[in-house]
């Protein structure tokens, strides 16, 4: 955008110079009579440009007017009128005023189009008193600008199209936009052809070229006008109950990353990784966040006359805003940030910058070691004691903690079989299966639809959790509640392995209050080229819904295994209060 700004500014400047030239010449000998009709005809053309897609007539209009301008220019060269009447001067003033107004109108319109419009308007009056050379030069400038604009229009159209893909729209709007796009492309083609023909020829031929450019300018406006209503009608394709959960899609948020912000590169990298789900799983997200924070602290330079804690706090807040815009924080991340902030506020006022950084980095390392690594080890031991030889352990999805537990138990010599349950939409379970198989664990893989088939042979269900809520509900990946329910129907014990750093003071009873809407396209079968769902965006009645989380009520969970103890779910508030006093989490 900024490049086009510059370009158009240059052109405006060029146009102004041309105008000046014209004025000077006009003072010498001004056949102003011709100018008035020409101006009058150009003016109606500019408001038409600002209008929306009803093009055919305006095009013809502008064609005529430009032709007449050129005729006038030709005439004016032949006729030399000596005196300047008062009327003529008045007319000139009126014309200038009109041109200014047109400029203002363009400016109020906003967007990239207005910068071009005044330029056209300004160039038109400039024509009158110019020589053939001048006219050709300005026209060349216009042609160059037109090319630039074409580039920008294409970009805008592309953007518009992508937005259209992501956001939802009614059929009619889609059609309208497509039509606009097609016409824009057609016009661009025509213009390009005309240009090729027109360039080498004389100024008389340049007139249609100018028309083409003006048409293009007009086209540049169009995608804007069609985009406006689109924003309003995003309501369709959103499931009513989840309206509050929809946000600009990841693909969009990735585009809006500011390049020249003062965010630390590690933070930006993490943001991209979170948005693109490269880093997923609550432990991984927490560790990645702490790692990025550590790098941020290490490279932080304290502005002069600022207290360390205050300065870093401001920096931290902007970084977190960025990260949370990329993906909603998980409970583990929220807790880690709370912990970091707590230690930041604990720093003494007159602390040395070096010491402060050292303390903070050490605290982060301690948190990762104690809260995640050692806690995982403690849980692994606790669960291992519950696994006996010959067991069939069922687990769902992919969890780093569960993987660790199973691998440790296998390494400790226990003989058991693992049933890995996956779902088609989330391929994580297949990664889990691969890692377990690589270590030689005997595994069974089933889709979640086959749960009833294996549940009667399962002796324990071990689930990972995204967060444990204070009312005892377990926030897990979508499908875990179904698993717990099937286990309950067969009276199979359900153990949820969850470190206490994932305990969260939120309360939730169903999956509607808080959830994340995954990419709806994930529901569509990737192997199927012409999947019947692939054009769901054009069908207002069809909405794929891809939920990320699922809330398991405490009644379906036998126990939660934490590093402190094996507890009933309902003990979550006790653990939280304990942690609050000890860690400030």
């Amino acid at each position: 955008m900024s490049s086009t700004d510059n370009k158009s500014r240059e052109d405006v400047m060029a146009a102004r110079q041309a105008k000046k030239l014209a004025k000077q010449k006009g003072k010498e000998a001004a056949p102003e009579q011709v100018q008035i009709p020409a101006e009058a005809q150009v003016k109606p053309a500019t408001p038409v440009q600002q209008e929306k897609p009803s093009k055919p007539e305006p095009k013809v209009n502008s064609l005529k007017s430009k032709d007449e301008v050129d005729k006038a220019v030709l005439k004016e060269e032949k006729v030399i009128v000596a005196d300047k009447s008062k009327d003529d001067i008045k007319a000139e003033r009126a014309a200038k005023k009109a041109a200014k107004q047109a400029k203002k109108k363009g400016a109020t319109e906003g967007g990239d189009a207005p910068q071009d419009k005044p330029q056209v308007a300004a160039a038109a009056p400039a024509n009158e008193n110019m020589t053939v050379k001048d006219v050709v030069e300005t026209l060349r400038d216009i042609a160059i600008v037109a090319k630039e604009i074409q580039g920008v229009t294409d970009k805008v159209i592309d953007l518009g199209a992508k937005k259209a893909e992501d956001s939802s729209k009614s059929k009619a709007e889609l059609k309208a936009e497509r039509r606009a796009k097609q016409e824009a492309q057609r016009a661009a083609k025509q213009a390009a052809q005309e240009k090729v023909v027109a360039k080498p020829k004389a100024e008389a031929k340049a007139a249609p070229e100018k028309d083409a450019t003006s048409v293009k300018v007009e086209k540049a406006v169009k995608p804007k006008s069609t985009e406006k209503p689109k924003v309003k009608s995003q309501g369709s394709h959103r499931v009513n109950w989840f309206q509050h959960l929809y946000k600009e899609h990841d693909k969009e948020s990735l585009k809006t990353i500011a390049i020249n912000s003062n965010l630390h590169p590690a933070i930006i990298k993490l943001g991209v990784q979170l948005a693109s789900r490269v880093v997923s799983g609550s432990n991984a997200r927490c560790i990645a966040l702490l790692d990025a924070l550590k790098k941020m602290v290490r490279d932080y330079t304290l502005p002069a006359k600022t207290e360390f804690a205050r300065g870093l706090e401001a920096h931290l807040a902007s970084s977190l805003d960025f990260l949370w815009a990329m993906r909603q924080p998980s409970a583990s991340q929220t807790n880690a940030v709370k912990f970091f902030r707590y230690h930041l506020t604990q720093l003494p006022n007159n602390v040395d910058e070096f010491d402060a950084k050292k303390t903070l980095q050490e605290e982060i390392d301690r948190y990762i070691r104690e809260q995640i690594d050692m806690a995982g080890e403690a849980i692994s031991i606790a669960v291992r004691n519950k696994i006996s030889n010959g067991d069939n352990i069922l687990t769902y999805g992919c969890s780093s903690l569960i993987e660790r537990i199973l691998l440790d138990a296998w390494a400790a010599g226990l003989q058991f079989r693992t049933v890995v349950v996956g779902s088609r939409v989330q391929p994580a379970a297949q990664h889990m299966l691969r890692r377990l198989v690589a270590r030689g664990l005997p595994c069974t893989y089933i889709d979640i639809t086959a749960l009833g088939f294996v549940m009667n042979t399962v002796s324990k269900v071990v689930l990972g959790a995204g967060a444990l809520l204070v009312n005892g509900s377990v926030l897990g990946s979508a499908g875990s509640a179904q698993l717990a329910l099937a286990a309950r129907a067969r009276n199979v014990p359900v153990l949820v392995a969850c470190e206490t750093h994932k305990f969260c003071d939120r309360v939730q009873t169903d999956a509607f209050v808080y959830n994340e809407i995954g990419d709806p396209d994930d529901l569509i079968d990737k192997n199927d080229e012409n999947s019947p769902l692939k054009d769901w965006r054009t069908n207002p009645n069809l909405t794929p819904l891809n939920l990320t989380y699922d809330v398991t009520p405490p009644s379906l969970v036998t126990a939660v295994v934490t590093e402190l103890a094996i507890l009933p779910c309902t003990s979550a508030p006790v653990v939280l209060r304990f942690k609050l006093s000890e860690y400030g989490v």
Binding site: Q426, V437, Y445, D447, T449, G452, Q482, L485, L523
Partner: protein, 356 residues
Amino acid sequence: MSPSKGSGKDLDDKFIDLIGKFVSDIKNGKLRGSNNIALSMVTLLETIISDSQNATAYELCTAVRAAGRRVAAALPHELVASNVTRRILRAVRDENRAHANQVNQTVEGSGESLQRLVLAAGARRATLGAAQHDLREPLRDHIAELRGELESSVSSVCGQAKEHVHGDEVILTYGASALAEKFLRAAPRTYKLILAEGPETAESHAMAHRLSTAGISVTVVSSASIYAVMSRVNKVVISVSAALGGGAVLAAAGLSAVTQAARHYSVPVLALAPLYKLCPVHATDASYFNALAPPHSALPYERHECASDNVHVYAPMYDFAPPDHITLFITNLGGSSPSYMYRLLSELYDPNDYNL
């Protein structure tokens, strides 16, 4: 199982050829859909009956049962074929009894009384009697009636849609089924449908697409988020593979998760079961009747995880839902509760034919 002679012995070669063609049509996928299978089974048995040398009750019963047994052995999953066989056997018995009554004018038992059910424990042959009438003529009417019933069963099930689906309700359905689709189309279009994709995703998606183009607002969810959305659902509509005698249900894999979630949230479950899907089988879990689909539907072959000997991958085809998970069966005769299914059984089939 008194007349358990070899099945081939009771049938002519031409019938065996016919049965072979019927079975291969189904196996090759030329014949799809339980209703179509039921109809062609009726046609098959009709040919067997009308071309039989001896048309006494005993001969006909033997031939029909032999054909049914053959088909059941070749296609253990097409329970519908066996059900139709039982219906025709029942017709033969009824016809024979009517004749016997005409001759003897002695009414030994009035229709299908409970008493008769209890007393009818004797050998199969005993109920057939010794009468030697030609039953082909009267059976033709019975078969035409049965065919009419089969042809109209889908429409009569769908005709009840208005009684069960109201405006602004949220209906959840699971997987793809022609019957469920017709039922949902027949209901007033103002409801919202949540379609949970079943094990055959492509068909589920195609069904979602068709219903949405028909003007129904469809939300597609994966089979993993059924529990999450169940709390907002007003009714669950499912189509079953077989309705069992005790009121339990056999259906596509993953159904038990749906019915369990529905039960957890006390959401009524409507099972669409035309009477030809009613099986005289009492089972307590799916192990009685299950089959494994090729495992690539769960884990694609190209994933090298499954190359290891350590990995078992299962993809069962059917799932079992106990009677207490089903609120209502919608048959072509109207709605009936699971506890009443046993009674429908005895109205449709002769107790002697429960085992073909």
